[in-house]
């Protein structure tokens, strides 16, 4: 019994600093989350929203890069091949721009690859324009 009496005064258990200070807030937060399943669902899906937004962002940047880099090469090539007037080249370039910005005719991956290989645009020149 002596041993037990001695040990009672010296408690070995500790808690992190400020643990009890903010426990109430954490409990309330958890209750709100449990009572609002929609909020809970949003929290679960949040990382996927970010992933989807990143993919859309990357595609948007890629599209901008293609619009800015491809038509200038294309214009030179068109000019040397057909020796058309500047007005014709400009109209061709505008057509290209329209092709890129046309919402109804989204280019497929195959079409983009074909386009890049047709005009000999390699990945280095694409990256240089990023």
């Amino acid at each position: 019994m002596n041993n037990l009496s001695n040990m009672k005064s010296d408690q070995p258990f500790r808690v992190p600093e400020d643990y009890f200070e903010n426990l109430s807030d954490r409990v309330q937060e958890r209750i709100i989350t449990e009572e609002n399943p929609n909020k809970r669902l949003i929290q679960v899906l949040k990382p996927y929203f970010w992933m989807a937004a990143s993919v859309v962002g990357i595609l948007f940047i890629a599209k901008i890069v293609l619009i800015n880099s491809v038509p200038s090469d294309y214009k030179i090539q068109q000019f040397s091949q057909t020796e058309n007037t500047a007005v014709d080249t400009q109209s061709t370039s505008l057509d290209e721009l329209n092709w890129f910005s046309d919402e109804s005719s989204e280019a497929t991956s195959d079409e983009i690859i074909e386009y890049l290989s047709d005009f000999d645009i390699d990945s280095e020149s694409l990256l240089a324009n990023l």
């Binding site: 041993n3 037990l4 070995p12 258990f13 500790r14 426990l23």
Partner: protein
């Protein structure tokens, strides 16, 4: 600081506009006592934190229908105890196939590794001895030895007669003393 009585807190809780504030008063008033009750059963701090939060979520849900015919603290203490015991049983299921001795050693190794436990060898031996008690004796021992709860309070929480609790505590102390003697602490 919060000096509100249980009746005042319950009154505030019944009003939707002050419900959240009332619950905050309640958590702050009882968090430490409930935490230590849970901690003595589940031992590790992180586990205790999980169990305590589950306990308060249950209290929040049940408080809407709480009848004042039993004491608020007794009712909450019972929820905390049941949550802790359920947690321990779930944990023990993970060690199905292990002997009791092996499970005790795993639990003690976890306790030793807990950064919020800084007990010496003697205190570890005491925890080891407590782990070897039957569930009811373990609860009674923790509540009496560490928290110094009165037998009539324990009787309400554990729904056991005072006589039976006294007998349980007596057996628990005898068993722990003999285990400590065996290990020469």
């Amino acid at each position: 600081m919060n000096h509100k009585s249980d009746e005042e807190i319950l009154e505030l809780f019944r009003d939707k506009n002050t419900q959240s504030q009332a619950f905050s008063f309640l958590v702050k008033k009882y968090q430490e006592r409930l935490y230590w009750q849970i901690r003595k059963i589940v031992l590790l701090h992180d586990d205790s934190d999980d169990v305590l939060q589950n306990t308060f979520v249950k209290i929040w849900k049940g408080l809407q229908n709480f009848r004042s015919d039993s004491q608020l603290f007794t009712w909450m203490f019972r929820i905390a105890t049941n949550e802790a015991l359920t947690f321990i049983k779930e944990k023990q299921k993970k060690y199905l196939g292990y002997s009791n001795n092996e499970v005790e050693n795993i639990l003690l190794a976890n306790l030793e590794a807990d950064p919020y436990f800084d007990g010496n060898k003697a205190q570890l031996e005491l925890q080891k001895a407590i782990l070897q008690l039957p569930e009811k004796q373990r609860l009674v021992f923790n509540m009496k030895y560490f928290d110094d709860l009165k037998y009539n309070e324990m009787s309400e929480i554990l729904e056991t007669s005072v006589g039976a609790l006294k007998a349980s505590y007596h057996h628990a102390v005898k068993k722990i003393e003999s285990l400590l003697k065996l290990n020469e602490v």
